[in-house]
């Protein structure tokens, strides 16, 4: 009975990363012209598509707020996202919970007071699921909102942390998350370093919580640095395409 080693004696994880290393991030901004903002984000093998519509006239007039915009979110996972084909209905409880979480996170960060009586809709779809779906969804939503030009109080990024042999491991993939260790998904606002969202469905000794939170902040900041560069590169390429490149 060999127990699978999540951290080898050399200090490397199953996929060869160090505990403090996040997966390769790649993103495309604005792939869909019909949406106001859109993004495709890849974190390792996890691939997520986010589209943002808004601010626009609310679909349900009864939902409008007189002083700010409402934010709605709909999250879905395609049937081919996991290794086993599984049809998930839109009313799946876990999906609804995640959609609600994304809605609440972004409601607090988007400057909704600038758009009273309007609606901002976020649609997230997980196309490939290899662990860290929620974190990737949050990151993709941030990118899509930035692509749509919707003002936000801060830049929100998310990261998933696991815990193996007393060491927090950053950005866990599906194999690591399927282990019996605790898994924390955290989102922070990068300028003020405040935690916007934290979720865990496992047991964790309280003395390890602070280590995990510090690791989460580190991971989110790493993601922020990468996304910042990608956004800047995308903006410059857009300007070049429009023929108004800065000298």
């Amino acid at each position: 009975m060999s127990k699978r080693e999540f951290i080898s004696p050399q200090g490397l994880r199953i996929d060869g990363r160090k505990p403090g290393e996040i997966r390769r991030i790649d993103c495309t901004l604005g792939p869909f012209s019909h949406a106001d903002g859109s993004a495709v984000l890849e974190q390792g093998n996890t691939k997520v598509i986010a589209s943002v519509y808004g601010p626009r006239e609310a679909k349900r007039k009864g939902d409008v707020l007189h002083d700010r915009a409402i934010v709605t979110c709909e999250m879905s996972i395609t049937s081919f996202a996991t290794s086993e084909r599984k049809q998930r209905s839109k009313t799946d409880r876990r999906l609804k919970e995640r959609s609600l979480a994304i809605q609440q996170i972004f409601e607090s960060v988007i400057s909704t007071h600038l758009y009273p009586r309007s609606q901002i809709s976020i649609f997230v779809q997980v196309v490939q699921s290899d662990g860290g779906d929620m974190a990737a969804s949050i990151n993709a939503s941030t990118l899509a909102l930035i692509d749509a030009g919707i003002p936000m109080q801060d830049f929100l990024t998310a990261c998933t942390i696991g815990f193996v042999d007393g060491t927090p491991i950053l950005d866990i993939n599906y194999t690591e998350s399927a282990s019996s260790g605790p898994e924390v998904t955290a989102a922070i606002v990068t300028k003020s370093r405040k935690i916007s969202y934290m979720q865990m469905a496992d047991k964790l000794p309280i003395q390890h919580l602070e280590k995990m939170m510090l690791a989460a902040t580190e991971g989110c900041l790493m993601v922020y640095e990468i996304l910042k560069k990608k956004i800047k590169a995308h903006s410059y390429s857009l300007l070049h395409a429009r023929g108004t490149a800065p000298s």
Binding site: R56, E57, G149, P151, I231, T244
Partner: protein
């Protein structure tokens, strides 16, 4: 679009949440927020400084109406003494009955009969060109078609482009040499039709 005018002294690029500079002595424009005595960007884009006004404009954003804009829009609903119009903005615009050009005479008091005959002018689904008359406090846009060049559009081609690509110019109605009339709506909606002089060739 205002941000791309020449004469911008600095082309500083900022992402959401990045600090632009000190707050003291500057006026906060669009796309900025003051936190802890510093100016922070709320959108990702280029910083525009005009004297003491600091603002950040995103490269892509939804159309925000300004008075005097020429727009191409679609009627969504016929309501009590007004039409609701889709402008591809954050809210539907309003075209008041008192703001359209009535055939009987330029200035005429709108009667009950006019109200009942609203459908004879514009119906749901009609495409019209109009000008932004006013932008109210709550952000709703009021349009008017009080000039002969505005009105219902038919027999042509409709196109939708991102609104940020349309520059604000003196003229939005152009006639191309190939015999095509083109209306470049500030809201990103574009209308093309054959010039009235020529008769449907190519």
């Amino acid at each position: 679009h205002a941000a791309w005018k020449s004469g911008m002294s600095e082309r500083q690029y900022v992402t959401t949440g990045e600090v632009i500079g000190e707050e003291a002595g500057f006026l906060r424009g669009h796309g900025t927020v003051a936190k802890d005595g510093k100016l922070q960007a709320t959108v990702s884009g280029f910083v525009q400084r005009v004297n003491k006004l600091v603002s950040v404009h995103a490269l892509n954003s939804r159309y925000q109406g300004e008075i005097g804009d020429v727009v191409v829009c679609r009627i969504l609903e016929v309501a009590d003494k007004l039409w609701r119009v889709d402008l591809n903005s954050r809210k539907n615009a309003i075209l008041m009955l008192s703001a359209v050009h009535l055939p009987g005479g330029v200035q005429r008091r709108r009667t009950q009969q006019d109200q009942l005959n609203m459908r004879q002018y514009f119906v749901e689904g009609d495409l019209i060109s109009a000008e932004v008359q006013a932008v109210k406090q709550d952000g709703s846009i009021h349009l008017h078609t009080r000039s002969l060049k505005y009105g219902k559009l038919n027999k042509g081609l409709f196109l939708s482009v991102p609104a940020s690509l349309i520059k604000r110019c003196k003229k939005h109605f152009h006639t191309l040499k190939c015999g095509v009339d083109i209306i470049l709506g500030n809201n990103g909606y574009v209308w093309m039709q054959f010039s009235r002089e020529q008769d449907g060739e190519e």
